[in-house]
């Protein structure tokens, strides 16, 4: 069997999703026998685009015209295009303050004459068709390896539906919202992380984006009962996803 040819590319992001792959230290040498890293600028030279890829994994949100052009070119050369991580899937932290004009943000950082800008940070799906999503800031290593295993078998990963609360129940964790009055976003956030943060006593910050079937109104009522006003909860929800879709 031919090894699938992969492209792994980062747009506007921290490289954490790509680093998660490089953090699979034990598995990395084994992976080399299974897949070909044809385009992976973070880890391999030269940076040259091939005619075709079996799958392209894209980290980050798409911000500039150059990134949009690159993304569209990758899409046209790839059998499958996968959004890798929260920024690619939902927009991520780059979309914070997306209600403020970009010009104003640039002036805040660069002063009265900021460098010119030509775009808005948006998830990949705003520009191209996405075949599969792997969420998380960063995604879990086991999910990344499972994705590669799926690709090898010609499958795509199944998108989860259960919130972080389900993972917490499985681990028999103390409920940080109910029993510790903490602003935990576990009830609304897509699980699959094994409730990594609540398991160490740290409230879920919603880094995996919204779970598809949650009751936002009900959750808001619980948050308010615990003393968190809607504005505080909404600001927290928007840390990784500007449009918290639900229902």
């Amino acid at each position: 069997m031919n090894r699938p040819r992969l492209a792994i590319v980062g747009l506007t992001a921290c490289s954490g999703c790509q680093l998660s792959l490089l953090n699979c230290e034990a598995e990395l040498p084994l992976l080399l026998g299974q897949v070909q890293f044809e385009l992976f600028p973070l880890a391999c030279s030269p940076v040259q685009m091939a005619e075709q890829y079996d799958a392209t994994l894209v980290e980050g949100c798409c911000t500039t015209a150059h990134e949009a052009e690159l993304l569209q070119e990758l899409r046209s050369r790839s059998r499958l295009l996968i959004a890798l991580g929260t920024c690619a899937v939902w927009g991520g932290v780059a979309t914070l303050r997306s209600d403020t004009p970009r010009e104003q943000l640039r002036e805040q950082v660069y002063g009265p004459q900021p460098p010119s800008d030509d775009g808005l940070p948006q998830p990949l799906s705003a520009y191209v068709a996405v075949d599969a999503c792997l969420t998380g800031c960063p995604p879990e290593k086991h999910e990344l390896l499972a994705l590669l295993a799926d690709l090898l078998r010609g499958n795509l990963p199944v998108r989860g539906v259960a919130p972080v609360c389900s993972d917490c129940r499985m681990r028999e964790n103390l409920c940080l919202l109910q029993e510790r009055d903490q602003l935990c976003l576990g009830p609304l956030t897509l699980g699959g992380c094994g409730a990594r943060c609540p398991s160490m006593g740290v409230a879920c910050e919603g880094c995996r984006g919204p779970a598809p079937e949650t009751n936002l109104a009900e959750a808001m009522a619980v948050y308010q009962q615990k003393g968190f006003d809607e504005q505080t909860v909404t600001a927290r929800l928007h840390r990784f996803c500007p449009e918290w879709r639900h229902g």
């Binding site: 506007t12 040498p29 685009m49 303050r97 943000l105 900021p114």
Partner: protein, 420 residues
């Protein structure tokens, strides 16, 4: 789209940058590094956010450096709010930062830089040509991640490091196990120094650069900024001294060092500023002193290898200290918002990192400044590229570009950090 076949992007570095050549009659007469990473705007994104959200947001500037960004942000916010942390928290934060140092240095040495010296394109070819070295490097890298996971909860974007303390405290058993693993890797770290010392450099001799680093004893946390030419700048004055300006070719601001400089930040600068080292690292530095002290940029890989040993030894010392002090569960110190500003200086794997925040009385961030080592190093990169142009007058543009990329990789640039 014609230019997309060969994307003009630096490979084997974090983020998006390119080298632009100026040519006359087929000869290279100028070269420039352009950090074209899209503007991240983190210093604006945190404005209006509450004090307890700042570190969680800004650690997303960069994955390789997420632990050190998180700790620097926590320290700066705690200073602004006049909050102190326990000695146990301090030691655990130091341990997490050493974990980040180990991971980052191992990643750079073995996966990003080593291919240049063994004629490979990256880790896939390295796995065939030097499997033992790659395996060793990945083992060291994994240990750095294990430390960050144990203390920070995750190798990337550590959530367990909180304002005033930690969520969960590692158990004594887990720290004892970590100490054993660190001890076992000391020979691998020594072998890495030999490997780095034996690399054959194809870059021409370059002039040395003065260095700058945050200094404060054996931790990487600094109270002040020092330079190899004898300047001392207090933390609260560091931002003004660095003196960042805009250019028309980089989305990262460039430091002007108050009309001095340029200065080099990073492992070579730190060793030249004589930061106190653990015993084996000190011995290694002594042994290789003639190749490191006052040495040009190309000594950076050897400096990084010595720092890798230093970080492993230092992490081991920290584990022992924590065990001696009977590490125990404790609650994070509670915080009350107040108006104020705070600055933290810290040594990230690539050099000096500064975080500075101002808060209003209700604890909302009103202003933020982050200065990163790769942004600081832009001046040194420009100076070294100019020196390379002078030293390779007859090189064909393609050959020159390969050498220029090797030169830039000596800085181990982190462009997401630089642009932030």
């Amino acid at each position: 789209m014609a230019d997309l076949r060969t994307i003009n992007q630096l490979a084997r570095v974090e983020g998006h940058g390119r080298i632009r050549l100026e040519q006359q009659a087929g000869r290279v007469v100028g070269a420039r590094i352009e950090l074209y990473e899209s503007m991240r705007l983190f210093e604006a994104l945190v404005v209006g956010r509450r004090y307890d959200e700042i570190a969680d947001i800004v650690c997303r500037i960069c994955s390789i450096c997420s632990t050190v960004h998180k700790v620097a942000a926590l320290q700066a916010v705690e200073r602004a709010l006049n909050l102190s942390v326990s000695q146990q928290t301090e030691l655990l934060r130091q341990l997490a930062v050493q974990g980040g140092q180990i991971e980052s240095h191992a990643l750079h040495l073995f996966c990003l830089a080593l291919p240049d010296y063994l004629g490979c394109n990256g880790f896939p070819e390295l796995a065939q040509r030097a499997p033992a070295e790659l395996k060793r490097g990945l083992e060291i890298k994994a240990l750095g991640n294990r430390i960050q996971e144990l203390v920070g909860g995750r190798a990337i974007h550590p959530f367990n490091l909180l304002l005033g303390g930690l969520g969960s405290i590692p158990t004594a058993d887990s720290l004892a196990l970590l100490a054993d693993q660190l001890q076992e890797l000391l020979p691998a770290a020594l072998a890495t120094i030999e490997l780095a010392a034996g690399l054959e450099e194809s870059l021409p001799a370059l002039p040395p650069l003065p260095g700058c680093a945050a200094t404060d004893g054996p931790s990487l946390f600094g109270e002040q900024l020092a330079t190899t030419d004898g300047q001392q700048i207090v933390a609260c004055g560091a931002y003004a001294w660095l003196d960042e300006r805009l250019t028309d070719y980089s989305h990262a601001k460039v430091s002007r060092f108050s009309e001095h400089g340029p200065y080099l930040a990073g492992p070579l600068a730190r060793l030249n500023l004589h930061a106190p080292l653990e015993p084996s690292a000190q011995t290694a530095l002594h042994h290789y002193a003639p190749r490191l002290l006052g040495a040009p940029l190309t000594a950076s890989h050897l400096a990084r290898a010595i720092e890798l040993l230093q970080a492993i030894e230092r992490a081991l010392t920290l584990c022992k200290n924590l065990l001696q002090n009977r590490v125990q569960p404790e609650q994070a110190t509670s915080v009350l918002p107040r108006a104020g500003s705070g600055t933290a200086l810290i040594e990230a794997p690539r050099g000096l990192l500064l975080h500075q925040y101002c808060f209003s009385a209700d604890g909302r961030c009103t202003a933020a400044q982050v200065v990163t080592p790769t942004a600081i190093n832009q001046g040194a990169m420009a100076a070294m590229l100019t020196a390379l142009v002078e030293r390779l007058p007859d090189a064909a543009p393609d050959t020159f570009k390969l050498q220029a990329e090797r030169l830039i990789r000596c800085f181990d640039p982190c462009i997401s950090c630089a642009v932030h």
